[in-house]
Symmetry: none
Subunit: 211 residues, 4 copies
DNA sequence: GATGAATGAGCGTTCATTCAT
DNA sequence: AATGAATGAACGCTCATTCAT
C-alpha cells in the first residue's frame, strides 16, 4: 500500500495520481478515459489498475489526501490565539493559496467532488461536512465571546463563508474572475470583509443592531 | 419547437421534460439513461428523440427555461423602488422559494449545470453570469447611493451573496441542513443579514469604517 | 419477453440463440467472444444485449429450453405401459437422437453445462438432477415389480445409465467413436443391453443371483 | 524439469502444483488467476512463471502426473490372474479411492480435463483414450474366454463402465450423492454389479442370451 | 406522432505474461 | 532462485443515437 519509492526512483503511483489531477481537471472525470490518465502519466494502461482498484479510487484518493490537509489546516488555525476575523482570514487564505498553488487539483476537488452532489459529493459527505464544522467552530467561539452576532447560527454562518469562497474559486475556474496574484491576495481580505463586516456601510446604521 | 399541445391533450414533450427533472435529480445526469427518462415519462424510447436532439438537450432545455425565469425575477426585483437589502432579500426569497417549490428541478440546475464547471456549466457560462451581473447591479446602485461599502466591488459582492445562497441550497440537497418551511423562511433573512450586515456585532466597532 | 416474431419475419432472438449454439460448440463458451456470436448471427453487437442480459444468459437459455424438452420426454416415456428395459431404450433413444439431430446443441449442453461442475453445472444442478430422478423413477417401478434387482438403488442405477450414455455422447463429440447412423442406432440397443442385461454372459451363472 | 528439491528444503514447484489443485478445485480453472495460485502457494507471483511456462502448463502437469498413475494401475490390474469382474472391481476401486484420497485433484482432472471437450480434454485425448483402451482390454479378454457377452464390443463396454464411474465421481463432486466412506465402498461393488451383472433380475430370464 | 428494435463506438476492467532487479 | 512491478491485448457490457414501420 504505502509503496515507499526508493530515493531517486520514480514513484509511479504518484505519477498516476498527478496525471489524474491534470486529466480530470482538463476534461472532467466523466469525459476522460483511464487510458488518458495512463498516457498522461507515461505508464502502461494496466499499471493504473495495479495501484488503484478503479478510476473512481484515483479521484477518491486525490480528494481524501488534499481534503485532510485542509481539515488539519483549519484545526491548526482555530487553535491559534487570534480574533475570529483573523482566523477566518487564515482559512480563506489557506484555501485560496491552495488553489493558487495547484489550481488543477483544487478544480478537481471542487468540481468533481464537493459540488458533485449526485456522485462523489454524496460519498464524501461526512468529510466535506467536517470542514463546515471546523469553520463553524471558529464562529461559535466568537459568538460566545460576543464579537460575532448571536442571531446567526454558527453552522449557518460557516456555510455562507464557505459558500462565498467556493464561489470565488468557481469563478476563477470558470475564468469569470481574472486569475492574477493581485486578485487572489485581494480576495482574501475582501471575502472576510464581506462576510464578517457585511456589505453595508457602517453609517448605514440600523443594520439590525445585533441581528 | 414550441409544439403547443391541444387543450386537454397530453403534451408528451412536457412529460419528457418533467420526467427528466425527476430522473436527473434522483440519479444524476450521467448515471441515468435515456430509457430511464422515457420510462419515467411513460413514453416510448424513440419519442424522446422526436422531441429532443440528444439527452443533453433535455437538460439544456430545463436549465434555460428555469434560469430565464430567475433572471427575469432578478431584473423585476431590481426595478422596484426598494433599499438594496430588501432587493437582495427578494432575490434570496425567489431562489429559496424556487427550491422549495420544485426541489428536484433546482437540484438538477445547480448540481448538473451551475456547479458542473467541466460540462454544462461551461456551456451556459454566459447565462449563469447574467445572474451574477443582475445581483451585482443591485449592489452597484447601493454603492453609488452610499448605503453599501465602496471597498467591495459589486461583482465580488454578488458572488459572495450568490455563493452563500447556492451553498445553502446544496446543504438542503445534501440534507446537511433540515428541510422544513421554518428553515427555508428563516434562511432568507439570515443570509441577507449575514452578507449585508455581516457576522460581526455592531458594537464590535472598528469593523473597518467603510471597508 | 415472448417476442413473437411476425410470420415471415426473422426472429433475431432466435438467430442469436442458434448462432450461440454453433459458436459455443465450435470454440467453447469461454473461448469465444460475444462479438463472435453476433457475427455468426449476422446482427449488430448491441442486439445481443437487447435480448440477453449477458453472454451467460444465452447459454442458460439454450440449456433450459432443451433440457426441459428432455425432461418432458422422459416423463412421457415413463407414463407408457412398457417394460422398464423398453422405457430405458426410449430414453437412450431420445437422447441419442437429440444428439444426432443437433450435435452442436447437445455438445454445448453437455460440455458447457452438465459436465461443467464449477460453473453452469452448479447453477443448474437441480434441473440436471431432475433427469436422474426421472430415470430413477423408471428403475424404481421395475424394482417394485421384481423385474430389476432390488440390490441396486434406483438412483444409483440411474446414474450408471445416464453416465454411460453421456460418455457415449462425449465419445462422439470427441470423435473417439465413429459418427454414423449405424453407430447411433446400434448404440441405443447396446447401452440398454449393457446396463440392463449386464456385460457378463448369462451362462456365466453366479452373477450374484439378485445382486 | 525434474528439479529435485534438496532434502529438507521446500520444493516450491510442488508447492505451486498443490496450490493449483486446491485453487482450481475451489473456483475452476477459468475463474481463478495465476496470482490466486501464487497466493495459495505462498510464493511470489513471478515464481510461477519460473517453474511453468503458463497457467495451462500447471493443469497439464497435474493431469499427466495423476493420469499416468491411473494408467499404470489399470495395466497392473489387468496383468493379474483374476476374473474380469474382479479386475473391473479393482479398477473401480482404484478410481474411487483416488477420489477419496484427494478429492480436489480428481475433481480438477475430471471437471477441467476429461470432461472439458473443448479445451484440455481435446489436448489430452490420446491419454484419456488410453484409459478406455486399458479397460477395454480387460473386457476383451473376458469376451475371448466367454465369460463376457460377445455382442457388446469391448470398447463400447469400456465406455459404459468408465462413464458410470465418472458419473458417480461427478455426483460426489456435485454433492448429489452423500460423501461417506460407506458410500464409497458400497459404490465399488454396486457399479461393478450394475455393469457386469446388469440391472435386471436373473430370473427375468431370457435377457438376450448372448446379446 | 409514436414505437422499440437495431446499431456500434466506447470504456472500464481483467489478467496472463514479461522483465528488471 | 525469487520478487512483484510493469505491460497491453482482450473482452464484456453500456447506452446514446438511428431508423424502419
Amino acid at each position: 500500500m504505502a509503496t515507499a519509492a526508493k530515493p531517486g526512483a520514480v514513484d509511479k503511483r504518484r505519477l498516476i495520481l498527478d496525471a489524474g489531477v491534470r486529466v480530470f481537471a482538463r476534461r472532467g472525470f466523466h469525459h476522460c478515459r483511464v487510458s488518458d490518465v495512463a498516457d498522461e502519466a507515461g505508464v502502461a494502461y494496466g499499471l493504473v489498475y495495479h495501484y488503484f482498484r478503479s478510476k473512481e479510487e484515483i479521484l477518491n484518493t486525490l480528494f481524501l489526501e488534499r481534503w485532510q490537509i485542509m481539515l488539519d489546516a483549519i484545526a491548526e488555525i482555530d487553535s491559534r490565539e487570534l480574533p475570529a476575523r483573523e482566523k477566518l482570514y487564515g482559512v480563506a487564505s489557506f484555501i485560496i493559496d491552495s488553489y493558487r498553488h495547484d489550481p488543477d487539483l483544487m478544480k478537481v476537488i471542487i468540481v468533481e467532488v464537493t459540488r458533485a452532489a449526485n456522485s462523489f459529493g454524496a460519498l464524501h459527505l461526512d468529510k466535506i461536512r467536517e470542514a463546515y464544522l471546523g469553520i463553524a467552530g471558529i464562529v461559535e467561539s466568537a459568538r460566545e465571546q460576543g464579537s460575532f452576532k448571536s442571531g446567526i447560527p454558527s453552522e449557518f454562518a460557516a456555510m455562507c463563508f464557505y459558500g462565498a469562497i467556493e464561489q470565488l474559486l468557481t469563478a476563477w475556474i470558470f475564468e469569470v474572475l481574472p486569475r492574477t496574484d493581485e486578485e487572489y491576495e485581494g480576495a482574501k481580505g475582501l471575502v472576510v470583509e464581506a462576510i464578517c463586516g457585511g456589505l453595508e456601510s457602517v453609517q448605514n446604521g440600523a443594520a439590525s443592531p445585533s441581528a
